[in-house]
């Protein structure tokens, strides 16, 4: 463009010199044509304003060439001269507008390119493969690169409070309360939106006479992380809209980055928990071995002695010792069970099973004194269920023992079962005092002893906790119902097949 302009001026000078001696013969049309070329070149080179100045200058030069003194211009000129002037001005305007538009578009394209490059650099710096990213310095880099006056990153901490990524941001915000108010406004809009909607994803802009404030919420995966705030002072500024787009882009990149960081932290947490659970589980298993070995030896020895011919007092004492050992064994088993269940390392051995096997195990495991009390009211037709049969039997035994212990001796306890729509219900019903509604939740708490515990001097207070945990592992639950006229019914409800599609209620 500059070259064309220079050539045009050179041509003007040369033609002026060339035609000057012979101006009487010079045709007005020729001058006009040359003048047009010059005006068009100038307008193309420097835009409309320059084009207009040059158009007027060329008009004056042409006047001079036609023998009209500058001081006579423009009043001394003939009418067709003014036609030339009009033509020059029109060309200057049209050409200037056209090329000026081009130049502006080019500048916008360059700006966009610069912005895209900045966003790309930002995302590259935040790639998982990149060395540890320093967010504040990255943002300062972006701010300088794009000549934005201030970029501030506000992050929401776990308690929902907004904090600053760098201390200098905090100081700046403290000096600009209006900016702070705007940023917290954007944050509040998102923090209160639940679930986070499209509305929350978009950025917000507010223009004051002095500056343009932009705020973009950082949202990724339905999680709100904070606000990216930017301020652009007003300087003949026409940039607003594209700056907002840029900020929104950057906010998505940042939000994705923060989401990934969060995920990494969660994974690390989960790993740590898992490691600690594994440690606890292996501790439980080694403690369990240490406890059980002497217990097994003592049980075997005492029961071996009881097989001998013994004087009656010795036999009585030994029998008592054996009962104590059995009690100790079941209490240790409870403690180890709950410890293992709490580490979540327990893996249920699910397999298809006949619920009748659970009931016969329960019946054959009863103490002689309780056999007459327990009645089985179970339909012969029950669906096969996918359960950990050993654990579920243990859960039911705890519930059964609870019913036997917490209802008056000699009163019956009934075991029942039914099935409906892919779920089975197993219940144990007693004629005891029942469970007050206020107690029902706490009954499954560790070591909780019911109000009626006067009936039950023994036990660790863990049985129902273990039963509830086992039911939970099966995707089921335990609830307590009242029985008329008095008594409690503990209902275990399980899916026939844990995790099966038809279980999705």
């Amino acid at each position: 463009v500059a070259l064309i302009g220079l050539l045009a001026i050179a041509a003007l000078v040369l033609t002026s010199v060339f035609f000057a001696p012979d101006r009487s013969q010079a045709a007005a049309e020729r001058y006009t044509l040359i003048g047009l070329l010059v005006v068009s070149g100038a307008a193309q080179w420097r835009g409309t304003r320059t084009g207009l100045v040059v158009a007027f200058a060329v008009f004056m030069v042409l006047g001079a060439l036609r023998g009209i003194a500058p001081y006579q211009m423009p009043y001394g000129a003939r009418l067709d001269f003014f036609f030339d002037l009009g033509l020059f001005l029109a060309v200057a305007v049209v050409q200037g507008l056209a090329t000026g538009g081009l130049a502006r578009r080019e500048r916008i394209a360059q700006d966009n390119e610069r912005r895209m490059a900045a966003v790309n650099r930002l995302s590259a710096a935040l790639m998982p493969s990149a060395p540890d990213a320093n967010l504040p310095s990255l943002l300062v880099g972006m701010q300088d690169e794009l000549a934005i006056d201030r970029v501030v990153l506000l992050l929401q901490d776990s308690s929902g409070q907004l904090g600053f990524a760098s201390p200098s941001d905090g100081e700046w915000m403290a000096r600009h309360p209006d900016a702070m108010a705007f940023a917290t406004g954007v944050a509040a809009r998102c923090a209160s939106a639940a679930p986070l909607s499209e509305y929350c994803m978009s950025s917000e802009a507010v223009a004051t006479p002095r500056a343009l404030d932009l705020g973009a919420p950082l949202v990724s995966g339905g999680e709100f992380y904070g606000v990216l705030y930017a301020r652009q002072e007003r300087r003949r500024g026409e940039r607003g809209a594209s700056e907002a787009t840029l900020l929104e882009l950057a906010s998505h990149v940042l939000a994705a980055f923060l989401a990934r960081k969060q995920l990494e932290m969660d994974v690390a947490d989960a790993r740590a928990t898992e490691a600690s659970n594994r440690l606890k589980a292996s501790l439980v298993s080694s403690v369990s071995h240490e406890l059980k070995t002497p217990l097994a030896a003592a049980t075997a020895t005492v029961s071996g002695l009881l097989e001998e011919v013994l004087p009656e007092p010795v036999r009585t004492e030994l029998s008592a010792a054996r009962s104590d050992l059995e009690l100790l064994n079941s209490q240790i088993a409870d403690l180890l069970d709950i410890a293992l269940l709490e580490t979540s390392t327990w893996q249920p051995a699910f397999d298809w099973n006949d619920l009748h096997d659970v009931f016969s195990s329960l019946m054959s495991g009863l103490a002689a004194a309780d056999r007459g009390r327990v009645h089985l009211e179970v339909p012969t037709e029950l669906p096969m269920v996918r359960i950990d049969v050993v654990q579920l039997t243990r859960a039911m035994r705890h519930i059964l023992e609870n019913a036997l212990a917490y209802s008056p001796p000699e009163t019956p306890v009934t075991i029942g079962a039914s099935s409906e729509g892919g779920r089975v219900r197993i219940w144990v019903q007693d004629c005891g005092p029942g469970v007050a509604p206020s107690e029902r939740e706490r009954l499954f708490d560790k070591f909780y002893r019911g109000e009626a515990s006067r009936f039950a001097p023994h036990g660790t207070g863990l049985g129902l906790t273990i039963a509830a945990e086992i039911a939970r592992f099966h995707g089921g639950s335990i609830r307590i119902e009242d029985v008329e006229p008095h008594g409690a019914r503990f209902v275990v409800e399980l899916p026939a097949e844990p995790g099966a599609a038809d279980d999705a209620r």
Partner: protein, 232 residues
């Protein structure tokens, strides 16, 4: 109980690394059995080769060569029954050991009576194994493996081919624990996980034909989480 003559006393190999357990087992068993003790897997294999025991009591938790490995090695050449000592919550280990050829298991802590009952049943079966048992009885139930029929109290029981396959497999392993996997394999040829459900259904149907009280089976009893046992 009167001590048995030394020459006819069965020889037991007890493999356990816990001195307390060994002491208790010695106290219970030495009256009626000749006991050899091994405290590790290596020792157990040597000892077994030397003494040719009539029955092996094997703890699965051993230092060095594992109980599982000992079980596998012994089964390669030793016909004597193997009784596994295991602890609660280890059904998977029990199944693995039974699948490797162990005959039975007992869970710690156990009483002396329980232990000797298991040992007696295993030895009795080992002795009768020499001749082919054409008929296996469980109370009033008789499984005739030669005639391929089952009678309850003298009456012929009508069974489907699969039900007969199940009960004949159990009866020919009378008093031993047969794992569900072994049973499925012997009935259907291959073991697929989905067969487990079918097996439970067939066993349930079988029981309704041979058991008087379904709540307390007397002939085919379930070993929860492990398998089944035909009681003689």
């Amino acid at each position: 109980m009167t001590p048995v003559e030394s020459s006819t006393r069965p020889k037991l190999l007890v493999v356990d690394d816990e001195p307390q357990i060994l002491r208790a087992l010695r106290a219970i068993l030495s009256k009626n059995y000749d006991i050899t003790v091994a405290a590790s897997g290596e020792e157990a294999l040597e000892s077994a080769a030397e003494t040719k025991p009539d029955l092996v009591i094997l703890d699965l938790a051993l230092p060095g060569v594992s109980g599982m490995e000992v079980c596998r090695s012994l089964r390669e050449w030793l016909d004597a029954p193997i009784l596994i000592l295991s602890v609660r919550n280890q059904e998977a280990d029990k199944i693995a050991a039974l699948d490797l050829g162990a005959d039975d298991y007992i869970t710690k802590p156990f009483s002396a009576g329980e232990l000797t009952a298991h040992i007696r049943a295993l030895l009795r079966r080992a002795l009768s194994d020499s001749g082919r048992p054409g008929q296996v009885r469980s109370g009033d139930l008789t499984v005739d493996l030669d005639e391929r029929n089952v009678t309850l109290d003298g009456e012929l029981v009508k069974l489907t081919p699969i039900e007969y396959a199940i009960i004949s497999t159990l009866a020919s392993n009378a008093d031993r624990v047969v794992t569900s996997g072994m049973l499925i394999k012997s009935v259907w040829g291959v073991a697929r996980p989905e067969d487990s459900r079918a097996l439970r259904v067939h066993i349930s149907n079988l029981r309704s034909k041979i058991e008087r009280d379904l709540a307390v089976p007397r002939h085919v009893v379930t070993e929860p989480g492990v398998g089944y046992r035909f009681l003689t």
